[in-house]
Each structure stands twice: as C-alpha cells, then as structure tokens.
C-alpha cells in the first residue's frame, strides 16, 4: 500500500482555477476523507489523483513514485464511483475479473482472486448476475469488489454512498470501515456528508473553493476549527457564530451586552471585533437568573433522544441549541440560555481561529 503526496497541485478549467495549490500528505494505510460543499473541488482533486483529470501545476506521488503524467491504470489506484460504473454487459464475476484478465493474469489465479474478494464482501451469490439485476447496494458492493480485487496501492471513493438510501448507507459505511481495518489500505474518500466524514476518517481534509481549509482528525476539525468556514461547515447543526467585542480585562462582550470570559491572549485587544463560536450542545436551557441570553423558539426539531431548538434573540441574532429530547419546548416559547465555554472557539477579524477560550 502507498502513501500519497500532493505538492502544489493546481487545476484550471479554461481561466477558472478550481484547485488552487493543494499540498497534502496522506500516510500509508490512512483513511482520509475530502469533505466540502458542492463545487469545492473535492471530486476534481480525487480525479486528479486517479489520473482522470490532468494536473496543470504541481505533482502527485503515490508510494514515492511520481505518477503525475502516468495513465490512470498505471498509478496503482482503484476507484469506486458514485454511480457504480459497472460494465453493464458483464456479469459481476466478469466485472471483477476484467482488470485482472487485461493485465494478463492466469485464469486460475483470476478465479481465486475474484472468489476470495466476493467472499470478503459477501457477494458470491451475485457473481453470475448482471448489474441490471442487482439493487443499488449490491451494485455498490460489486463496485467495491472490483476495486479490491486489483489490490491497488490506493483506494479512491467518489461519493460512493450518495445514491443509497439512509439505512443502506449506514450499512455500507460500516462495511467500508471494516474493509479499511482488514486491508489496512490507503483510502481517500470524497463526500459532502459530514456524518460519513466524521465516522470514517482517520483525518478529514476540509476543502472550500479549491483550497484546503483544514486537515485534521475528526475531533480536531470539530472542536478546533481553523477558521470560520470550517466552524460553519463541520457539525450539524452548525456552530453558533456570535459577533463579540473585546472588553476590558480580556472579556468578550456579545452583541446584546452580555460579557463572557475570553481567551487569554486577547487582553491587549480591547475594542477589537471578534467572532465567538459555540457548538449547539454547549448551549443549555437555564433558569432566567443564570441566563446569558433569552429568546423565542422559532423552530423546534424533535429528533427523539434530542431536540434542536432555533431561538431568536430580541436583537435579531439566531442561536441553535441542542437539548435533551425530554425538553418540551415548543414554537413561540420563551427560553433562557446558558453558555458552556468549554471548546468555545474565537475567530479574529480575518476569520482565522485565535485559540480556545
């Protein structure tokens, strides 16, 4: 298996630069998830690693070898596509065997490899079937099998679960996680689904407008977002971003006049504007006497074990609060909120994180 190294990688479609200089190191055996909003360039970057898109500037190394100019099939990568991309005129067996046969592998060895892979993915009964006679989940397992059977250096997954229904997506997600543990292979997974990213990744690469905004473990990007974009993008519901001003003694004064403890390094920044980031689970319902903010519930999403309350403060600021499912707050109720500043993030005027409060 191989490490992947991207150095100064850029991609232009005409005058439009879609990948704006990406430097990234992915260790051997690591499962890295590219996540970002639609059009951020995550699929393009994956396709550049696969060799399906040309690299305009920079270079890509896989297992130490420069593969920037190599044909896709010579890079030692295998890819699982969003729409499965199975060969429709071939059975599942032939889909798995095709690449091995074209590589000149002996028939008996092809058979062993195909049947071993099918057993691993529990798709043996599907081998005689054509893609049209399979469900979406079965097709995706065959597509994963087609990637595994070649024993590539790197597995590339381009939003492979987005066409599956919710239950199947959860099942396939755990299957991919199991496969990663069993194969100990380098995997790069593209998704716009944060749950997939958080649950699967060893490290997450957050992309925005062709740039890498942050690379880190799921905990790092969740608890210590590098900037306002990552803070707003990672986590569902999104982090509350509250405008604040640095007051005397290093305290932060929020827009509605409440003062909260600020990070240590801001005591000399009195009068400057900052943004305080608080996850919805760091806000709680408290008695009025202890409240740091009060407002009216504009939307209550009851999800069973928890509820998401959208609260509008009198000054117009909206806050999202995650509370226990037992809380019976309803639309129009007035609620009082307390802030837990553990893992609160503070962002400077340039949008970059300053430090934990």
């Amino acid at each position: 298996m191989g490490a992947v190294q991207l150095t100064g990688v850029r991609k232009l479609f005409g005058a439009l630069e879609v990948i704006k200089g990406v430097d990234l190191s992915i260790a051997d055996g690591e499962l890295v998830v590219f996540v970002g909003p639609s059009g951020c360039g995550k699929s393009t970057l994956l396709r550049m690693i696969a060799g399906l898109e040309d690299v305009d500037y920079g270079d890509i190394r896989i297992a130490g070898a420069d593969v920037t100019e190599l044909a896709p099939a010579r890079r030692g990568v295998a890819m699982v596509f969003q729409n499965y991309a199975l060969y429709p005129h071939m059975t599942a067996y032939d889909n798995l065997a095709y690449g091995l046969r074209r590589a000149g592998m002996a028939r008996a060895e092809v058979d062993v490899r195909v049947r071993d892979t099918a057993a691993l993915l529990q798709i043996t009964e599907l081998l005689p079937r054509r893609p049209k006679a399979m469900s979406g989940g079965q097709r995706q397992r065959v597509a994963i099998g087609r990637a595994i059977v070649r024993k590539p250096e790197v597995f590339l997954f381009d939003e492979p679960l987005s066409n599956l229904d919710a239950a199947l997506r959860v099942e396939m997600r755990s299957q991919i996680a199991r496969l990663h543990q069993e194969l100990q292979a380098t995997m790069i997974f593209v998704t716009h689904d944060q749950v997939e990213a958080m649950t699967l990744a060893d490290r997450i690469v957050v992309l925005n407008a062709g740039r890498v905004e942050q690379v880190g473990t799921p905990r790092e990007v969740y608890h210590n977002p590098a900037n306002l974009f990552v803070a707003g993008f990672i986590g569902s519901p999104a982090m509350n971003l509250l405008p604040a001003t640095v007051g005397q003694g290093g305290r932060l004064t929020l827009a509605w006049g409440t003062a909260v403890a600020g990070p240590a390094g801001i005591s000399g920044m009195a009068g400057q504007s900052l943004t305080l980031g608080l996850r919805p689970d760091r806000l709680s319902l408290v008695p009025q006497a202890q409240a740091q903010a009060s407002g009216q519930v504009t939307l209550a999403e009851h999800l069973g074990d928890e509820s998401i309350l959208h609260v509008r403060l009198p000054i117009g600021q909206s806050l999202t609060v995650k509370v226990s499912g037992d809380v019976a707050a309803r639309l129009g109720d007035t609620v009082h909120l307390g802030f837990d500043m553990t893992h609160a993030a503070v962002f400077g005027a340039d949008g970059q994180a300053m430090r934990e409060a």
Binding site: L52, A71, A73, N83, Y84, R130
Partner: protein
C-alpha cells in the same frame, strides 16, 4: 400497511382486464395518431409488396393486362446467366463493402468523439455529402479515377505505382464500385457517434483505470456497449448493399461493363423492367431479393442475441 401491501401485490399480479373510459380514450387517440402512418404503410408498402408477388407470377409488359404464368418467371431466373452473375457480384459487393464501411465509420466516429472544439462543424461536414445525389457523387469519383488524366492515378504514378484502369479493368471495376459505396459515410458515422456518446463517462473511466491499453477498452467495453448501433448499421448496410444500383449503373451501364464485372442484381432487374419491359420477370427478381434479404436479416437478428447488448438487458 399490511392491507396496502396486499393491494399492491394483487395489483401487480393481475392487471386490469378492461380499459377504463380514460384508457379507451387514450387508445383511440393513439390509434388516430398512428393512422396516417398506417395508411402510408398500407398504400405504399404492403399493397405494392403483395402486387409484386402477384405480378411475379404473370407475364406483364406494361401494355396490356398481366397474364398468369405461375412460376415460369422464377424458372427463367434459374437459367438466366445474367441473374447468376449479378447475384454473385452483388453478394461479393455486400460481403466486402459492408464490413469495410462499418469499420471506417466506427473509426471516424471514434475520432469525432474525441473532438471537443468545433464538434458540430465536423458532424455537419461528415453529414453533408449524404445530401448530395449519388449520381453526382459517382460522376465526381469517375472523374477522379479516370485512367490517364484522373488525379488519383496521376498521384499513384508519381509515387511509383502502376495503377489499374479503375473503370475498365475487370479485376478493378467491382472494387471501384465498392470504393464509391464507401462515400458518403455520414449516417453510419453519426449513428456510431450517438452510441459512443451514450456510454456513461464513469464506465469509460472505470475502463481507463482497469487497463492502460486503448484497444482493450475498444474491444471489451466500447464495442459491446455500442453493439445495438453496430446491429442497426449492419442490417441497414446489408439491405442497401443488396440494392446497390446508382454506382453500378454509372460505372458499368446496364451491361455491367467491363465483361459484366460490375453487373449488379438491381441493374439486371432494372434492365428487365425498363429496357425489355418484362415486368413479371423483374417482379420475380424483386421477390427473390426481398425474401433473401429478409432471411438474411432474420439470421442476423437471431445471432444478435449473443452479441448485442441492450442497456435494459439483465441476462
């Protein structure tokens, strides 16, 4: 929920026996929409076809009523050396020209499929010759292939070859007609191009990841996926090739000169009908051609089950 499931199952297993009012209205509308085409098919295809089979059993010379002669016209065909010569030439023409035409058209379509800039322009350029009358095209080719003054032979001589007399050498003349039939290729090329552009991009990319060799992808992925277009072009090509007429008439006249080397079945048929006014004989030839091409087409369709892949096919 259980009731709903039961109803759904029942609905799926037993389709309604009668059309409702709306269904009947829809069926009537469908019939009315299809009616003009059905009238055209009856008047211009089915009736002439049946008439041809009838006239084939008559002695009919345009003037005067047809006289029933049974299978005499077919018996006359059996012993007509011109018919056998033309049938042989036509079969050779079909067997050689159709595969060559399909291969060249596929090659052009593969090239056009790679063109991203000016693709519309190239498609128009390839299709335009199809709009030119075949007679005009054949005459242009004859001028190009003129033995001494034709640019083709001038160029071949300049390169050190000794080119044949394309039009009068019995060994070369049939090949000349085959050459003429390869132009234009617009329709076949565009049909293939449509098939190529219908191949999902991710399937094509998966093939790129599976093998670095372009011909692997062509043979194992591309050609099977455009096999319905190959079948279409093959069937249409065979039907047209057995009816080759214009090029043969322009090059070889009604005698198939030189030495009947270019005498084609349709030329003999035309000669019988409009030179000798032996319409019954010509009709007999037409029915034999019809049945022969029909059987050949059915044979191709039968073999197609094993090599044509349709998108919705789960076999």
């Amino acid at each position: 929920m259980a009731i709903l499931a039961k109803e759904n199952t029942a609905g799926a297993s037993s389709p309604p026996r009668r059309l409702g009012l709306a269904g009947r209205g829809e069926a009537r509308a469908g019939f009315l929409f299809a009616l003009p085409w059905m009238v055209g098919l009856t008047v211009f295809t089915i009736i002439p076809l049946l008439l041809t089979f009838y006239i084939a059993q008559t002695k009919f010379q345009i003037v005067g009523p047809p006289k029933y002669v049974g299978l005499a016209n077919y018996a006359a065909m059996w012993i007509d050396p011109a018919m056998w010569t033309s049938a042989r030439n036509t079969m050779f023409f079909a067997v050689v020209s159709v595969p060559i035409k399909l291969v060249i058209a596929l090659g052009l379509a593969l090239l056009l499929n790679r063109v991203t800039a000016l693709s519309g322009f190239y498609r128009t350029v390839f299709y335009l010759p199809f709009l030119m009358p075949a007679v005009a095209g054949s005459i242009v080719f004859m001028l190009l292939l003129t033995p001494d003054a034709g640019p083709v032979n001038i160029a071949l001589k300049a390169l050190g070859f000794s080119p044949p007399d394309w039009l009068l050498d019995p060994k070369a003349a049939l090949w000349t007609i085959i050459l003429l039939s390869l132009w234009p290729l617009g329709v076949e090329t565009l049909v293939f191009l449509g098939g190529l552009q219908n191949i999902p991009q991710d399937v094509s990319e998966a093939a790129d990841l599976d093998s670095p060799r372009g011909w692997h992808k062509l043979v194992w992925i591309t050609i099977p996926l455009i096999s319905p277009m190959i079948l279409f072009n093959l069937v249409i090509g065979i039907i047209y090739s057995f009816q080759v007429f214009t090029q043969a008439l322009v090059v070889g006249g009604t005698t198939g000169k030189p030495a009947e080397a270019t005498l084609m079945y349709m030329v003999v048929l035309y000669r019988a009908a409009f030179r000798y006014f032996n319409v019954g004989y010509a009709a007999a030839m037409a029915t034999v051609l019809f049945v022969g091409v029909l059987l050949l087409t059915l044979l191709i369709f039968r073999t197609a089950r094993s090599w044509v892949h349709y998108e919705g096919d789960s076999r």
